[in-house]
Assembly symmetry: C2
């Protein structure tokens, strides 16, 4: 057997999550789960590994090269899921008879793509998807938008704007200006508005569909995103109605959602923005993207829309729905940049120091008693030099320490040291110690 060790490396595009990051990720996921549950959305899970036929369907396309695909030991052609949408479609088709409609679910889980890591993307990432399927209603559309708003509020993020449009409006406009055959290309150009600017969009459209049609597309795009708020949104919808003929149903839907936003007091955070198109063929109704005022450069942190039929690959039952997806990794990077990620690296609220291994059971009894008061308690496991024990507490972000020794009365009185102040508070009961620790932990400076 060799003396050599194996280099403890991870695959390109994959990463370990260290505790301070993972604790924050779990906190955010918990906040999201609580918000979703409050709206009556329920959690599900699906396998990470599926039949390739299920995940890639008709096959082909850009996705294939990025999929982790292989033959398993039983000779099955299998692949790791690359999103949560396709597995959800398969899930709905498989379990329709056990479920109810409309069905509202959320799913926070890992997905895998062999993406180009140079763009700062990870090959293993956490998606957070939420959808209502089995209804065409505007109520479900609005509920998703409201839930996005409430979810970001729960995370403490301000300056969040949901940009909203209707995919069918664009289609109606394209028909009206006779650009239907160039539709995909027009959409692709408009979709680049944020990236390449209005001037280049204008000249590219000119080259593709001519000046007159271009002007109507630009007028349509320019009509929106002039601001937020109840009155502004109503005016934009009116203007879009004027600009796009034969789109009564689409305008009606957009108006319904915008009016609900007004009535619920969230219109200031809703922007009617016809430049939002969300790709080419999946979405058919309301579409939206979510931007953070303070981080426009990271793009949309939550995108989605309404689709006509979720699971046509797997069932003949039509399942219209509306949903959205949060890329948790990008969102967390954003929260960190905004200083909204909990910067606490606190592994515990206090640590029971160890000066005499004969007192082992006493240390654990104190720790256990404090835990019943809701205090997170570490116990230093060995009788090392006290300086080293303080150093560990500091590295772990633990703000207080418990000292006790054989001289202290068996009554269970302890000394709490507030490490930042180098101050000892002695003769405390467990109750008093827990209260002091709670005060120290809650101080905003920590």
């Amino acid at each position: 057997m060799s003396d050599q060790t194996i280099e403890p490396r991870v695959l390109k595009g994959f990463r370990d999550i260290l505790p301070w990051h993972e604790a924050e990720r779990q906190r955010i996921m918990q906040l999201l789960a609580e918000t979703f549950a409050r709206f009556g959305f329920v959690p599900i899970d699906t396998p990470i590994l599926e039949y390739t036929e299920i995940l890639l369907g008709k096959g082909g396309g850009e996705t294939d090269k990025q999929v982790f695909r292989f033959d398993d030991n039983g000779g099955r052609d299998v692949a790791m899921r690359y999103d949560l949408t396709v597995p959800f479609a398969r899930f709905m088709a498989a379990h329709l008879h056990e479920l109810y409609l409309p069905f509202k679910r959320f799913h926070m889980a890992k997905a895998f793509r062999g993406e180009n890591t140079q763009r700062g993307r990870y090959r293993e990432f956490i998606q957070c998807d939420f959808d209502t399927v089995g209804t065409d209603s505007a109520s479900a559309d609005f509920e998703i938008v409201l839930m996005i708003d409430r979810a970001f509020a729960a995370m403490g993020v301000n300056g969040v704007h949901v940009h909203l449009s209707h995919r069918g409006l664009f289609n109606a406009l394209l028909r009206a200006i006779g650009a239907g055959s160039n539709g995909e290309e027009v959409l692709r150009i408009v979709d680049k508005l944020r990236k390449i600017g209005r001037d280049r969009v204008s000249s590219e459209l000119d080259a593709l569909i001519g000046a007159e049609a271009r002007d109507r597309v630009l007028a349509f795009v320019d009509a929106g995103a002039t601001g937020a708020g109840r009155d502004v949104n109503a005016r934009i919808v009116d203007e879009l109605e004027r600009l796009v003929p034969d789109a009564g149903a689409e305008i009606g839907r957009l108006r319904a959602v915008v009016e609900c936003a007004g009535a619920l007091g969230i219109a200031d955070r809703i922007v009617v923005d016809p430049s939002i198109t969300r790709g080419l063929d999946y979405y058919t109704g309301i579409v939206f993207e979510t931007f953070l005022d303070d981080l426009p450069q990271i793009g949309s942190v939550c995108s989605g829309g309404r689709y006509d039929n979720l699971a046509s690959l797997y069932t003949k039952e039509r399942l219209p729905g509306v949903g959205a997806s949060i890329g948790l990794d990008r969102l967390m990077a954003g929260l960190e940049e905004l200083g909204l990620a909990s910067s606490s690296t606190r592994a515990a609220d206090t640590i029971v120091l160890c000066t005499d291994e004969a007192l082992l059971s006493r240390y654990h009894a104190i720790a256990d008693a404090l835990r019943t008061h809701g205090v997170a308690v570490d116990v230093y496991p060995e009788a090392r030099k006290i300086g080293g024990q303080y150093a560990l507490a500091e590295k772990k972000g633990i703000p207080t320490a418990i000292l006790t020794d054989a001289d202290e009365p068996e009554s269970g009185r302890v000394t709490v040291r507030v490490l930042s102040e180098r101050a000892n508070h002695d003769g405390l009961s467990i109750d008093e110690a827990a209260a002091l620790i709670a005060r120290v932990v809650q101080e905003p400076s920590r």
Copy 2:
């Protein structure tokens, strides 16, 4: 394009998790995470996909055939993790310089094995591992045992017993009886005690090492597991000390842990049981398994022990540690059998019924107001027949419904219907409605 749909099947050994099961799984994982955090354990995560060399090390062995292994699109030999221990060892080696010692972590995540599904095993399963590394101390040993006890208490499970031994005691006994060379085989036989019974263990040992050595092994095994409690445990440790020569350090460690258990008041749930061996070469110190009195047939629901060196494959730094692992799927099956899984399939606490789509914004405003009182609120999205709306509420386990119509005053008064009683409570403010719903939800009959 074919008219045929793809059968929405999952791979053998994999499964979808339906909402009522997933909600319960997340509740249990949350309880465990809270318990671990209260002991100062921090969460980490590692990639699901790793270099095969990392996961299988020297290669060979039974594990290989069960591993999902393939060449990725970049030609790398990769595999899906089959446990959380090997990735943790790699993690510690990779991040030693960023971390501190002792390091206490927990990790709840999926692992994958191509196991024989006929034994009721899943090929994708959730492990819950927790370890303290970087210390040899008895304090860390006891802390793990205490945390297991507290974790099961948090889940509401009674009749939990941690069976405890010391791997080194068995080794000392084998040396004393001159059975060192047959050690592995002796361990393997004793490990089958629960399965094949004492008589067969006795005859197999007789055949292997002769009657005299057999008697000493059986005396050793028989000395334990005669009961629990402070005094019983102390007597068993004394008896083991008498039976096994030259094992002072091992007896001392066992005694320290047992004495702490007595001092902390958990000795009634600790059984000193020398038949616990935990496999052949990984563990070197304290070993334990956890049994549920009411479900002896499912075997240990939480097992672990102390090891000498976690990460010798990846680093020359010695990392002694102690840890345990819960197989969450087996545990959850057990909780369900015991009726301890929350049987609630409640998707929300109430549902705002829809009788007039013109009142859409009002329905959502009522829902939103109730949510600020902590009520989980669904909104029926379309003006369907009221009977169908009640039917959906029933299928979703929602115990109450909110009725409002254009005639009700704009003051925001609503009617709460308690569905099981077919009773309407009208003219309620949002506060009153929230309070009523909370009372209904908390009724034990639900």
